[in-house]
């Protein structure tokens, strides 16, 4: 596995809740990423976000790892929960909260601060 792939795998495995998205929570660049983020926020999930936009390779490596072709992707304790439609549906039915309750350590709702993990440095501007 490439170094980038390895870092993606580590992030998925070590963070409680990971959202791979287009953009950042402050600057969401895609409607579906926004829907997934809002669904996670609605249940107070401790979200760690990864922006896939700085390097197209993040998305390629991630999809190869997860066997899921689109962005966003949400993982809880290393397991792919799904994309925006699934996370939104699970939030509405209450199953998302149940899943977090069952998967995470007690007190997960107190540690709800959002974190950002950067997997690739922004690419330098190339002046032609």
């Amino acid at each position: 596995m490439s170094e980038l792939g390895e870092r993606i795998r580590q992030t998925i495995e070590t963070e409680d809740v990971v959202l791979f998205m287009k953009g950042t929570p402050e600057r969401v660049m895609c409607g579906n990423s926004s829907r997934a983020l809002e669904a996670l926020r609605s249940v107070g999930a401790p979200v760690t976000t990864v922006d896939v936009l700085p390097d197209p390779a993040i998305r390629t490596e991630l999809s190869a790892l997860s066997n899921w072709p689109t962005i966003p992707q949400v993982f809880v304790r290393g397991e792919l929960v799904g994309g925006a439609d699934i996370v939104q549906e699970l939030a509405e039915t209450g199953e998302l909260r149940q899943k977090l309750e069952a998967s995470l350590d007690e007190g997960w709702q107190d540690a709800r601060a959002e974190r950002i993990v950067e997997l690739a440095p922004p690419r330098p501007l190339r002046l032609a």
Binding site: G31, N32, T70, G82, G83, I86, E89
Partner: protein
């Protein structure tokens, strides 16, 4: 394009009791897909959606589908 996508889904889910493809924006590349099929019964949503992605792998890979919303249900 909705007709082509519907045909792909129909052949992947011949037992579907509900199947529709809607062009969400009118631009021909943002779609809402709804499928109810016994093929989904008992599967977690993540695996249900994977079956839809598999059925639409070609138009997803070549960029025909820019954005896809999926709603699946197992048939009763």
């Amino acid at each position: 394009m909705t007709v082509e996508l519907e045909a792909l889904l129909r052949s992947a889910f011949p037992d579907a009791t509900e199947l529709s493809v809607q062009d969400r924006t009118g631009g021909g590349d943002h779609f809402q897909v709804i499928v109810t099929s016994p093929a989904f019964s008992g599967l977690p949503l993540v695996d249900q959606h994977r079956l839809v992605y598999d059925a639409l792998a070609a138009p997803l890979a070549d960029g025909t589908i820019h954005e896809l919303r999926i709603r699946t249900r197992g048939a009763q």
